[in-house]
């Protein structure tokens, strides 16, 4: 047991937490910004999957990891555009669109994978290029901090930038305020003279961008290849974090962090001789319990009020 704790309090563990946190944070923020403006985006999982594949394909086609990243973002934006087209222009229930997009992505990625690699499982045969691991001078010599801020994948640093920009957008710009208004009360927003659809389109596009980066992270650093269904519920964990954090960005981020702790602990446990299948469900059990506790407490406080 003492060995376990020494692993938990090691710099490597901290580094692992960051590694598992990044895609979850992209996912939850993607869900967050769309829900904030009033369009629940449950296609996060599907967008991440598509972008993960296109990051590999893109870097293979262009032989440039950065162009690959751009192509991957493009794929995510296309998915977001479909969501916009269906919900805002055609009036379809966003949840239905999300379910359709997720199942579509699950098999369409296999379709594309097979078209380009003649393999339905992985993209190992494609010579794709990953983004570099970034070491930051000075910081890489400070204990603890170096585990978090140095030696991480490129997209991790993009994640930090995105979170700062997103927080500025939501809390410091008129657009962020309008998004919140559009999400909280569409009629109030309209009578204040806000073009609600316009605001929502921007929000869903940002959501698509964030999910795309989360997907790209998976194949340009975390792993260097695409494998079938590799997002493995990360998008859904993000949606769960959003459901619990609501319109509070920090709340969503903290919830995501807690979920990624579960995930990192799972990784530690896998070092031991324990049934890996049961260990693997720890994060999902954590999210489930989190949602239940959250709902029960909301229910209780609602009853009192």
């Amino acid at each position: 047991m003492s060995e376990f704790w020494s692993v938990i309090f090691s710099e490597e563990f901290l580094s692992t937490v960051v590694r598992v946190l990044v895609p979850l944070l992209f996912a939850s923020m993607s869900a967050y910004i769309a829900a904030l403006a009033g369009i629940p985006n449950i296609a996060v999982e599907g967008i991440m999957l598509m972008s993960a594949l296109f990051a590999v394909l893109g870097s293979y086609w262009t032989q440039s990891s950065w162009l690959g990243l751009l192509i991957s973002i493009g794929a995510g934006l296309v998915m977001a555009l479909i969501l916009i087209l269906c919900t805002i222009n055609m009036g379809t229930n966003p949840i239905l669109v999300g379910i359709a997009l997720n199942t579509f992505a699950a098999s369409f990625t296999v379709f594309l994978l097979y078209m380009f690699t003649q393999n339905k499982g992985t993209s190992a045969s494609l010579a794709s290029i990953v983004l570099p691991i970034v070491n930051i001078p000075i910081i890489d010599r400070i204990p603890v901090l170096r585990a978090v801020l140095s030696g991480q994948y490129t997209v991790t640093y993009l994640c930090i930038v995105c979170m700062i920009l997103l927080a500025l957008l939501v809390y410091r710009t008129p657009l962020g305020m309008r998004m919140k208004a559009a999400g909280l009360d569409e009629r109030a927003a309209k009578t204040a003279g806000i073009d609600v659809n316009h605001v929502r389109i921007i929000a869903v596009l940002i959501s698509g961008l964030l999910a795309a980066l989360g997907g790209a992270y998976m194949t340009t650093g975390y792993l260097s290849i695409f494998t079938k269904n590799m997002i493995a519920g990360r998008g859904w964990i993000g949606i769960a974090a959003q459901a619990m954090g609501g319109t509070n960005m920090l709340g969503v981020a903290v919830t995501t962090f807690v979920f990624s702790l579960f995930q990192a602990i799972t990784n530690v446990f896998s070092l031991y001789d324990l049934p890996s299948e049961l260990i693997n469900i720890i994060p999902y059990v954590g999210v489930l319990l989190g949602i239940i506790l959250f709902s029960v407490s909301t229910y209780r406080s609602g009853k009192k009020g």
């Binding site: 239905l96 369409f108 078209m115 859904w236 999902y284």
Partner: protein
């Protein structure tokens, strides 16, 4: 105010036009994809559309693969009817499959009682498991989409662990159960195919759910609650108990679906990931507009295209997953509220003006 009426015929005609146009667009997009990806798109397209009719075995394949889709489609359509987006059928398919396989691997009863038990037990357990997200939603308003998806992953982990620990075949290279006992498997109905009594059960289930929905008091309450919850409440119906019952039936159907699938097509349990059949059920429900007979027709249609695509994929480089393009287009167009709405409104307005 003058009296006016908008005819029912207009409604049905509108839905029909909408569906036909959606199918046409979906096939057209598929053709474009084929044109981009394979050398002889026209021949491939024709193979895809007519392939299943060329051999009895192929047509048998269509019937086989529609069975699990019908069950999961029915299960999802019941849930969707009550206004819930619960995707838990996927997990029920997995855990139900594990339970079914465990029973199917035992030596037990005869060729009637063995499959009966191997189908009913997973069905009952499936029903009970579905009550979890149902209750959490009904009582505490817990997001059913998230809870059901988390449960799916949990069921997968637990099921996989169970198979590896208690039911692992020693004579097999990858993770799988031993061969099912002979008495457990369902006999083939049509020689030369793997069509079993499963297809009859699926059709029967569709008709039973149809009867349940449209001929019984329970179904009446489910329909009214789904269409307008406040109207149902006003009329004195109890939403909570209806809610739980619908979840149970849905999980039960999921359990039957997975068991029938395993005992018909498989000789051992070898799923190491979620089979995807439950998610596809959600698509069937959407395309079938939550109508049991609609689900039956759609499951047949999609299976037909799926087998067509499989036959085509043998002679081309295009994999069977091309079918996901058809499905996604169909789902999005059929569930779109405003698709063709402009056309419809003009028509309604014209009718309306005539009566002013």
């Amino acid at each position: 105010m003058t009296k006016r009426k908008f005819t029912l015929a207009g409604d049905t005609a509108f839905e029909t036009v909408k569906t036909i146009l959606a199918i046409f667009i979906a096939l057209a997009i598929t053709f474009c994809v084929l044109a981009l990806t394979c050398e002889n798109p026209v021949a491939s397209f024709v193979t895809m559309l007519t392939g299943p009719l060329t051999k009895l075995r192929y047509f048998g394949n269509v019937l086989e693969s529609m069975v699990p889709l019908v069950f999961s489609g029915l299960a999802c359509s019941l849930l969707f009817r009550t206004g819930l987006f619960n995707l838990g059928i996927e997990g029920i398919y997995y855990i139900g499959g594990v339970i079914c396989s465990y029973i199917a691997c035992q030596v037990f009863g005869n060729s009637f009682t063995h499959p009966l038990v191997a189908i009913l037990v997973p069905a009952l357990i499936g029903g009970v498991l579905m009550l979890i997200p149902g209750y959490l939603k009904a009582k505490f308003n817990a997001n059913e989409l998230v809870t059901s998806l988390m449960l799916n992953s949990i069921y997968l982990g637990v099921g996989l662990w169970f198979i590896k620990t208690y039911l692992r075949a020693t004579d097999y290279s990858s993770t799988a159960s031993p061969l099912f006992t002979d008495t457990a498997t369902l006999p083939y109905l049509i020689p030369g195919t793997r069509v079993t009594i499963g297809i009859l059960l699926a059709v029967a289930a569709a008709f039973l759910i149809y009867i349940l929905l449209f001929k019984t008091r329970l179904g009446y309450q489910i329909r009214m609650t789904g269409l307008n919850p406040s109207f149902a409440r006003y009329s004195g119906m109890n939403a909570m108990s209806l809610f739980l019952l619908v979840h149970f039936i849905s999980g039960f159907l999921g359990g039957v679906g997975t068991s029938v699938e395993l005992l018909s097509i498989y000789s051992r349990f070898s799923w190491v990931a979620l089979p995807g059949l439950g998610f596809n059920g959600a698509l069937m429900a959407m395309m079938g507009k939550n109508n049991p007979i609609g689900v039956l027709v759609v499951a047949f249609g999609i299976s037909y295209l799926q087998i067509g695509a499989e036959i085509m994929s043998r002679s081309t480089t295009v994999p069977v997953e091309v079918i996901s393009i058809v499905t996604a287009t169909l789902v999005l167009l059929i569930s779109a509220q405003y698709f063709l709405r402009g056309w419809r409104e003009k028509k309604l307005l014209k009718e309306g003006l005539l009566h002013v």
